[in-house]
């Protein structure tokens, strides 16, 4: 993204009032970008929240209503699935800690409004893992991946079990036992996060503490992907920090926790991006704290250029050249962070071989 040329979706997310003054051409672009970034429902909520909804053109209101109804459908299904999970696991003494979308929804976070969410991520204690999986399989969930290598890959190297899908409802459940792959540079143990989990009112349902919720989405965004198409996660980061950060006592707890878990570097990046693109308010002292973990200048300059470009969604007709390159470089970076070099080479070789063999 060149200076002075601000992406229209990012502008609308950051300052919803601009939506009251767009022409037809701008709307066409904005609505399309929002759909591609899975943020239409978010935009609808922002428009309603900021009071501009009623001034919008009828066609925009129809599209927003459509996006809203779609997201409400997702949310209803998520609530139901969580309830079904709880009915199986809670009586057997297995506590479910919701992550990501399901957690935002059940914990009543602001970022849940209009948010799409098509599967449920849960964290269970390492000791309960095998039992949780067996119980779910006994109650109508099935393993999605059947290939032996995939299964092995998930179980040995990933931070979650192979996804389970309910036979009738089709909803996917990811059971995590830790937050990032055990092979990853950053290690976020599930049990460390569970020690601070808070109950969600309903028996047997938990969510991470506020600071851990924020740390989780940040580490997930920065370490577990290439940033392309991850504006949605930045929106979560922004919304969580705005909501939790409105109370001053959040920030010291958040920074202390990031230090304890050794993830100040991703926090540094996330705060920088979130402030730059979405104008997230962050106290000076917090920024100074995060600055201590900033990378050496060549990396910093490169990331400052690549990361916003990768996060900025592009219309398919005119993809920015920078975004493509940024995506590739960041993809390599994400895998670099995810596993040691030799293991990465072996993994990619196996994937490539499988793609070549016609039998699969």
């Amino acid at each position: 993204m060149r200076k002075g040329e601000q992406n229209i979706l990012i502008r609308a997310l950051r300052e919803p009032a601009v939506m009251s003054g767009l022409d037809a051409g701008q709307w066409s672009g904005l609505l399309r970008l929002a759909r591609l970034a899975a943020l239409s429902g978010r935009l609808d909520w922002l428009a309603r929240q900021s009071g501009v909804f009623d001034q919008l053109p009828a066609r925009v209101r129809s599209q927003f209503t459509s996006a809203r109804n779609f997201a409400l459908g997702d949310q209803r299904q998520i609530r139901w699935e969580v309830r079904c999970l709880r009915e199986v696991l809670a009586p057997r003494g297995i506590r479910i800690t919701l992550l990501k979308g399901a957690a935002y929804l059940l914990a009543g976070c602001q970022t849940a409004h209009g948010r799409l969410c098509s599967d449920v991520d849960i964290l269970v204690a390492g000791d309960d893992l095998a039992r949780a999986e067996a119980e779910l399989v006994a109650h109508g969930w099935e393993a999605l991946k059947t290939d032996a290598y995939d299964d092995h890959y998930y179980r040995t190297w990933m931070h979650e079990l192979p996804p389970l899908r309910h036979r009738e409802r089709g909803m996917i459940v990811d059971i995590h036992h830790t937050i990032l792959p055990p092979t990853s540079r950053y290690v976020l143990g599930g049990d460390v996060l569970l020690s601070r989990a808070r109950p969600l009112g309903e028996d047997g349902l938990m969510a991470l503490s506020e600071e851990d919720m924020a740390v989780h989405v940040i580490v997930h965004m920065m370490a577990d992907g290439d940033l392309v198409g991850r504006l949605r996660e930045l929106v979560d980061v922004d919304a969580l920090l705005r909501e939790f950060g409105a109370r001053a006592e959040f920030w010291p707890r958040f920074m202390a926790r990031a230090g304890e878990l050794g993830v100040i570097r991703p926090v540094y990046y996330a705060l920088r991006l979130s402030r730059q693109l979405l104008a997230t308010p962050v106290p000076e002292a917090v920024l100074r704290g995060a600055d201590q973990a900033r990378p050496a200048w060549p990396v910093r300059v490169l990331m400052d250029r690549l990361a916003p470009a990768a996060l900025t969604p592009q219309l398919p007709d005119k993809p920015g050249r920078l975004a493509g390159l940024a995506g590739l470089l960041l993809y390599i970076r994400a895998h670099w962070l995810r596993m040691p070099p030799l293991m990465l080479a072996r993994h990619l070789a196996r994937k490539a071989l499988r793609r070549l063999s016609p039998a699969s």
């Binding site: 037809a24 066409s28 459509s66 109804n69 779609f70 459908g73 209803r76």
Partner: protein
């Protein structure tokens, strides 16, 4: 501007470069069409419809028809729809590109419209009362719908029943009707000259031709109507004609079965449908041929 009034060179330029916004019924679709023959066919079938150059209207959906890969533009050319998201399209030979365009447009409506309650259904209207025929393609409803559309009924849509949940009104979306095999001759015999497009032989469903959206239907495409009745048509040449009244429960069952977004919309959709089923009659119509069916629909319409 009506598509047929746009100078052909301009139309060609829009469709092959930045796109053209087709404004029909509740939707504005940005179309980009590779292949001159496809643009030709589009201009012929959609001639009565309104369109605008990019930037004048707010676009709902983007549909691009092009070769699946660069070399497929020249060597055994094919056409596939790109609608900005994954969709289960299978490339067709380029000569069948108009069918791919219809598929692409249909997929957008079927998977992205959640401000309206949508159904697999044909809808026609007369005297302010819309008749909705739920059913999947192949149930014979297209032939019936086309027959009615060329015999004084206003075509709302052959593929989609679009229901406004706020007031229970039906929205018009008069797209071309895809006629298959024997239906083509049947409808051609009733329709005015030039009402039917060129035929496309050897499609996966046999020969296909399109009944163009009738002028008066397109001219009134922004005019909704009240729902008069639900009719479930069953084509059965071996049995005598029969009309039977469906119970409210049966009607609700059919409507939820044939809705495309009922499960996602939840409570508002349930409320809207139960209310309609409460107030409007539903019928099953068994018919051995088109003439009989049209007379039966007339009878039901008169009784409303």
């Amino acid at each position: 501007m009506r598509i047929r009034d746009i100078p052909r060179a301009d139309l060609d330029r829009y469709l092959s470069t930045g796109g053209l916004d087709l404004c029909l019924g509740p939707f504005v679709m940005r179309l980009k069409l590779a292949y001159g023959a496809l643009r030709e066919a589009f201009a012929d079938v959609y001639g009565a419809c309104l369109a605008a150059p990019p930037g004048e209207e707010i676009t709902d959906f983007h549909v691009r028809i092009d070769a699946p890969s660069r070399w497929r533009h020249w060597f055994r050319p094919q056409a596939i729809a790109d609608i900005d998201s994954p969709a289960p399209f299978v490339p067709l030979p380029a000569r069948l590109a108009p069918l791919m365009l219809e598929q692409g447009m249909n997929w957008c409506v079927a998977t992205r419209v959640f401000n309206l309650l949508t159904f697999h259904a044909s809808v026609v209207e007369r005297g302010g009362k819309a008749i909705l025929f739920p059913g999947r393609s192949g149930a014979g409803k297209s032939t019936l719908c086309a027959g009615l559309a060329v015999n004084g009924w206003r075509l709302f849509c052959d593929e989609f029943g679009l229901l406004d949940m706020e007031n229970g009104e039906v929205r018009a979306y008069p797209r071309p009707i895809s006629l298959k095999n024997r239906s083509i001759g049947l409808i051609r015999a009733m329709a005015p000259a030039g009402a039917i497009s060129a035929s496309y032989p050897d499609t996966p469903k046999g020969t296909i031709a399109f009944l163009k959206p009738p002028e008066q239907s397109v001219a009134r495409d922004q005019e909704p109507a009240e729902l008069g009745a639900f009719i479930v048509p069953v084509f059965d040449p071996g049995e005598p004609a029969a009309i039977s009244r469906l119970s409210k429960t049966e009607a609700l069952g059919y409507m939820t079965l044939y809705s495309m977004n009922y499960d996602r919309l939840g409570a508002p959709a349930f409320t809207c449908l139960t209310d309609l089923v409460e107030r409007r009659p539903a019928f099953a119509l068994r018919y051995p041929d088109l003439e009989v069916a049209m007379a039966q629909v007339d009878d039901i319409h008169r009784s409303l």
